[in-house]
């Protein structure tokens, strides 16, 4: 159509001054706390071992937190729990979403309602219920470290439901599930094989996005972890924030960096995925 070629009309080359004003205000609001945190994290003085002089600004705060075994330990624990959460979430939700689409579409409202419930149940309420069930006997899982981590993973998987299920379901909607399944079965593949070799690879982009979002959420999560008393990153950072001056700033910056990295991964996956599917999809 001719209309498709049409350029937006009367658009000033540099945009309206109002738009710039609002944009700059917004950007300042977003950027200033980051700058302030970085600045704060650099206020810690570095003592020169030779001259004994104190040097500011320095990276001393970063050195301190990265040498702090509890900080690094918390980070690693959070990372490990995030990975387990992602694995469980995927193993649970991909077959479920697949099964709902293919075999029991009538169950869709039920499954969707459950996966959206975490939007209505705040983490503090969820952990309240979990503690009341899993702290006292007969299900006193929270008495052991392993049991606590298991319940924590369970809670995080629930938190990931809304994002992960939507990502998986949207991913499934873009591929012709029935045909792929029938084709695989006609070649002699059973259900597990169909899921593993055909469905998972075709959902790669969607699954990775969901996975990284879950990673970002779990890495910084505080409420549930702190009430369960696990030694993850969130509660330890909070503790640092109450007791130390500059280390928490460094810790926050590290935390932001992790979230950023995870989110950038999502964006890059999104781009790569578009590039991969577009030529095939274009007529």
């Amino acid at each position: 159509m001719t209309a498709a070629v049409t350029a937006p009309r009367r658009r000033r080359r540099w945009g309206s001054p109002w738009a710039w004003l609002i944009f700059l205000l917004g950007v300042s609001y977003f950027v200033i706390p980051l700058i302030a945190t970085i600045e704060f994290s650099l206020r810690a003085a570095y003592k020169d071992p030779v001259t004994g002089e104190f040097i500011r600004p320095s990276l001393a705060a970063y050195e301190l937190v990265l040498k702090d075994p509890k900080f690094v330990g918390g980070l690693l624990t959070s990372f490990r729990i995030a990975l387990i959460t992602i694995a469980v979430s995927l193993l649970l939700l991909v077959p479920t979403a697949y099964w709902v689409r293919l075999k029991v579409p009538r169950a869709r409202p039920v499954v969707e309602l459950i996966t959206l419930m975490p939007f209505v149940i705040p983490p503090v309420v969820l952990v309240f219920g979990l503690i009341r069930i899993y702290a006292p006997p007969p299900l006193a899982f929270l008495n052991s470290t392993f049991g606590t981590e298991a319940v924590l993973v369970g809670a995080y998987v629930v938190l990931s439901f809304p994002y992960m299920y939507r990502a998986v379901d949207t991913g499934l909607s873009t591929i012709d599930l029935r045909t792929l399944t029938e084709a695989a079965q006609s070649l002699g593949a059973g259900w597990p094989r169909v899921l593993w070799s055909v469905i998972f690879p075709n959902l790669r982009g969607a699954l990775l996005s969901g996975a990284f979002l879950t990673l970002a959420i779990v890495m910084g999560e505080y409420t549930i972890a702190s009430f369960m008393g696990t030694k993850t990153f969130g509660p330890y950072l909070s503790l640092l924030g109450q007791n130390k001056a500059y280390e928490p700033a460094a810790g926050s910056i590290i935390s932001f960096a992790i979230t950023w990295a995870a989110m950038f991964a999502i964006v890059i996956i999104g781009r790569a995925n578009r590039g991969r599917t577009q030529p095939a999809g274009a007529p």
Partner: protein, 369 residues
């Protein structure tokens, strides 16, 4: 002239959408811009509406230059392909919108809305919302909305192409009836030659930003000025030919000498394209003056009252379609049958060869099925 465009040019980046457009339309005239996608017809229409500013040329309505007047002060009505009704307003509010912008008193607005709802045969629907209406109804409301402000010119941009075939036909007649009743000068953009032929007083056929031909439907259909027009409009059969004697209008096709009714413009010895109208072709030897071609039947399509027969002409790579009336007592020819086709010299048009005519849709895809 009431609506007058002269020397209109529009460029988007490196792409020239409209090269040089001239048109003079009389008051009350119904003019169609006809052409394939990207031929510049919509861009031209949008320049009349004021959504695009021409790079050169002038647009006048009743002698007043409006080329630089903002769209909201031009007082022309526009109907969009996608209806573009405001989803948050009822039908009545949609129709009244232009009047409200002109600060017309509420009572007067109400009367005018009622009048227009009557005109589009939806007198009861004023309180409904666009999403409650079918596509055809929405487009009628959009028409009423455009007419409410008593525009000097009515512009319609492919108003029927989003609708299904049956509604398209009835709404087409309705648009024409309303246009006649109001006597409003109308510009209608379409890529559907049947629509253009049946609606218009005059048609402007466009291709690649240029006007190919301007004329009445009968002129466009019976005397296409270029091969593009011949291909795009109607169901003409096109055959490659060589001009043997330009002065006496003789051409050669597949070794046969054929006669046109008048002299040919192209020089003798040059190649040309010959157009034959399907309704002029008969099976058999025809009259003594008739031109004749031989071929074999490649396809027979039963269309009800008409049977369309396609014949592959011997010696050339071309298929000629002809229409015969259905005769229940006579079996139609079968595929593979040899037939002789005859047609009078008047039915043979020799078109100048346009080597850079660009890709043009074949007549088969455009033939009304």
């Amino acid at each position: 002239m009431f609506l007058s465009l002269s020397g209109i040019r529009k460029q988007f980046g490196d792409h020239v959408a409209v090269h040089s457009f001239d048109l003079d339309a009389a008051e009350g005239e119904f003019v169609s811009f006809l052409g394939p996608s990207g031929c510049g017809k919509t861009t031209t229409l949008r320049m009349i509406a004021g959504f695009e500013l021409p790079d050169a040329g002038s647009i006048r309505i009743a002698g007043e230059e409006i080329g630089r007047v903002p769209a909201n002060r031009r007082n022309v009505g526009m109907v969009f392909q996608s209806y573009a009704l405001f989803p948050n307003m009822s039908v009545a509010d949609n129709i009244a919108f232009g009047l409200k912008m002109r600060k017309v008193p509420a009572a007067e607005r109400k009367a005018r809305v009622a009048e227009l709802l009557e005109l589009i045969h939806l007198p009861q629907s004023g309180g409904k919302y666009p999403y409650e209406l079918s596509g055809g109804m929405q487009q009628r409301v959009a028409l009423a909305r455009a007419l409410a402000i008593r525009p000097r010119v009515l512009l319609l941009d492919e108003p029927l192409s989003a609708l299904d075939a049956k509604i398209r036909l009835s709404l087409r007649q309705e648009i024409r009836a309303i246009q006649r009743q109001l006597g409003i000068t109308t510009v209608y953009v379409t890529h559907d030659q049947e629509e253009a032929l049946s609606l218009s007083d005059r048609i402007v056929v466009m291709s690649q930003g240029r006007i190919e031909q301007t004329g009445t439907p009968s002129e466009i259909y019976n005397a296409p000025a270029t091969e593009f027009v011949a291909r795009f409009v109607g169901t003409l059969n096109l055959l490659p030919a060589t001009v043997t004697d330009a002065a006496s209008g003789r051409v050669r096709i597949a070794g046969r000498e054929l006669r046109a009714a008048s002299a040919v413009e192209a020089p003798s010895g040059s190649s040309a394209t010959v157009a034959l109208r399907p309704e002029a072709i008969v099976i058999g030897d025809g009259g003594s003056e008739a031109n004749r071609l031989d071929g074999s039947v490649s396809d027979v399509t039963f269309l009800g009252s008409i049977v369309r027969i396609r014949v592959r002409v011997e010696g050339v790579d071309a298929v000629v379609a002809l229409d015969t009336f259905n005769n229940p007592h006579e079996a139609p020819p079968r595929i593979g049958d040899h037939l002789r086709l005859a047609f009078p010299p008047e039915a043979l048009l020799v078109l100048p060869h346009a080597p850079d005519a660009g890709p043009v849709a074949g007549d088969e895809s455009l033939a009304p099925a």
